[in-house]
């Protein structure tokens, strides 16, 4: 319901803006631009500069020589581009392995979250059974508990099972969050029951309905949850930090943190590593910005 109303609202403002444009001609032409809008535009330019300069600065440093880094005044554009910093970083630390580990862990957590959360959300949204509301309230209640409370017992549990330094240990404890179940349940509730009734008359099983009716209709919500979970996992530092010791099992965030520990003042190498850490985030950002924003406006990151 909420989602749909937002959607139609956006559409209406969208159409209105088109109409306005027609009425007032080219609203972006300087002559018609109001003074206040110019002021706001300039303010926003400074804000954008403040937000983006660190990224540019890190890239600029990452292609400098070790000597040039400490030159005064600092140079925005280096004399010559030294790509070899990147290959050097790649040689001294197994960044390819880190990237692979982060990808495996994030993808697996995302898939398992989507599967378990959507199954549970379907049970909560469409079945009547004793204890349903009680269990759902328990789920919701866990959103209040900070992850630091459960992290120590989970670490002990993983250690007892011998799952430290394994993918299973990195993945499994991160799969079960109430946020996903809650988000999908709310979305499933908005799907009209008539869609299911038609399939029921044809004699379809509940699992068939879940798979072929509910899931295809919920792709926006599933994508939101997927992007959200993926980004959160990709950036997760604390859990890999406590369950991983071997270099070969480190995720990208953990690899970066320990790389910094080793090369704490080789700024050009550090910045090359940071840039490599940011590029995947940029890619996710470009692909999934829409869904990330939807996820945030739905209920915000829990963590």
């Amino acid at each position: 319901m909420i989602k749909r109303s937002i959607l139609t609202k956006n559409n209406s403002t969208f159409f209105k803006s088109i109409k306005n444009k027609k009425v007032s001609g080219n609203i972006y032409s300087l002559g018609r631009l109001k003074m206040s809008k110019i002021v706001l535009f300039i303010i926003m330019c400074f804000v954008a500069l403040f937000m983006l300069v660190p990224f540019f600065w890190s890239f600029s440093t990452s292609v400098k020589t070790a000597g040039e880094v400490f030159e005064y005044p600092p140079k925005w554009i280096p004399q010559s581009i030294h790509w070899e910093n990147y290959s050097q970083v790649w040689e001294v630390a197994p960044f390819g392995q880190y990237l692979l580990n982060s990808t495996v862990v994030s993808v697996m957590v995302t898939i398992l979250t989507l599967v378990t959360a959507s199954l549970a959300a379907y049970a909560f949204a469409r079945f009547k059974f004793r204890g349903r509301d009680f269990i759902f309230m328990l789920y919701l209640g866990t959103m209040m508990i900070p992850s630091q409370v459960t992290m120590i017992p989970n670490f002990i549990f993983i250690k007892l099972l011998g799952w430290t330094d394994t993918y299973t240990g990195l993945i499994l404890p991160n799969v079960f969050t109430a946020l996903g179940v809650f988000l999908l349940r709310q979305f499933f509730m908005t799907i009209p029951k008539e869609y299911e009734d038609a399939a029921k008359i044809d004699g379809a099983s509940r699992f068939h309905i879940y798979l072929h009716v509910i899931l295809p209709l919920s792709i926006p919500a599933l994508s939101t949850l997927a992007v959200f979970t993926f980004v959160f996992q990709w950036n997760n530092l604390m859990w890999p930090l406590i369950v991983v010791n071997k270099d070969i099992m480190k995720t990208l965030t953990l690899g970066l943190a320990s790389f910094q520990g080793m090369y704490s003042t080789n700024w050009n190498l550090l910045m090359a590593a940071a840039v490599m850490g940011i590029i995947p985030s940029f890619a996710i950002f470009v692909l999934g910005q829409k869904y990330l924003i939807k996820g945030i406006t739905f209920s915000g990151i829990k963590g």
């Binding site: 303010i43 926003m44 937000m51 059974f129």
Partner: protein, 307 residues
């Protein structure tokens, strides 16, 4: 008569089996998630509470100490130092982020040129990994060669702060970084809230001759208050749990000046292996967050308007 009764019986029993079947398949759907929750969430929460009553280093047998860990915690100077650090961090970040993100959202819902670009620029640090961008800011905060001090020097400040080296400035650096990193998060929520305010209200206000200043105070702010409430609560919760940036930027130092509560838990659990003490600290953190959230919810009646 008899036949009808029998029929009813059959229908009833069919209904019961249907209900049972429905309940059974519901549990099948729920099971994969529920098993995980019972182990990693519900179970872990209970176990965490139990561990907090023990003295345990994971090597020697655990010793029951009752409330000993909590008492030790509340008497220890180091806990009050990290509590103080965390509270300063929260006071430094939450109002700043809320005010800045509200201002940015107010600007960004207007049709200024380049709006999509500005929105992306503000949101970009939110999507980037904290570790990677904190590495960049460690370089920017560098006292001798950092970009920030170079800028401050150019605008005429001679007493340049030793950002990450001086205990008084290190926490400030952490606050600046965190505002930069997460301001876009709240901006996005505010923008959605602003877009949800019906245009008709503004039109009505215009007919009554309200200035934009009056419209902001009498229409925008009251109608946005549920969103503001939500943003404040989310920011409070996440700021109390700060860890990643402290780990990368300062390593908790210098002289524990940036050791936050979560950092303290990490140190005790995974450096000193005092599992009971660390769990007790985690529960104190939970209690703090819980109480503050409850206070917010109680207080909301005074300033949050729901239509």
């Amino acid at each position: 008569m008899q036949l009808k009764y029998l029929e009813l019986e059959i229908v009833n029993s069919m209904k019961i089996t249907m209900k049972k079947k429905e309940a059974l398949s519901a549990w099948v759907f729920l099971m994969p998630s529920l098993v995980g929750f019972v182990i990693f969430v519900f179970g872990a929460t209970i176990v965490s509470l139990l561990i907090s009553f023990f003295d345990w280093d994971m090597l020697t047998p655990a010793k029951f100490v009752g409330l000993g860990n909590y008492l030790k915690l509340l008497k220890s100077d180091s806990f009050f130092l990290v509590l103080r650090n965390t509270v300063i961090f929260v006071i430094g970040t939450v109002p700043t982020r809320v005010i800045f993100s509200l201002l940015l959202a107010l600007i960004l819902v207007k049709k200024i040129p380049g709006r999509a670009f500005f929105r992306s620029a503000i949101f970009l640090p939110v999507a980037a990994s904290t570790v990677a961008v904190a590495m960049i800011w460690r370089w920017i905060f560098n006292a001798d060669f950092g970009l920030l001090n170079d800028f401050l020097y150019r605008i005429g400040i001679s007493q340049l702060p030793q950002w990450l080296i001086n205990p008084n400035w290190a926490l400030m650096a952490l606050i600046i970084f965190s505002v930069w990193k997460d301001v876009g998060f709240s901006t996005v929520i505010f923008m959605a809230g602003l877009e949800g305010i019906p245009d008709t209200l503004y039109e009505a206000g215009e007919i009554d001759g309200a200035s934009s200043w009056i419209k902001f105070w009498k229409i925008t702010l009251p109608l946005l208050s549920p969103t503001t409430f939500f943003v404040v609560v989310l920011n409070l919760i996440s700021s109390f749990q700060v860890f990643d940036q402290a780990y990368v930027l300062t390593g908790g130092g210098p002289a524990y000046a940036t050791t936050t509560i979560v950092y303290y838990i990490y140190n005790y659990a995974f450096q000193r292996f005092k599992m009971g003490y660390a769990c007790a600290t985690a529960w104190i953190l939970f209690a703090i967050i819980f109480v503050i959230t409850i206070i917010q919810f109680k207080n909301q009646k005074k300033w949050v308007y729901y239509i």
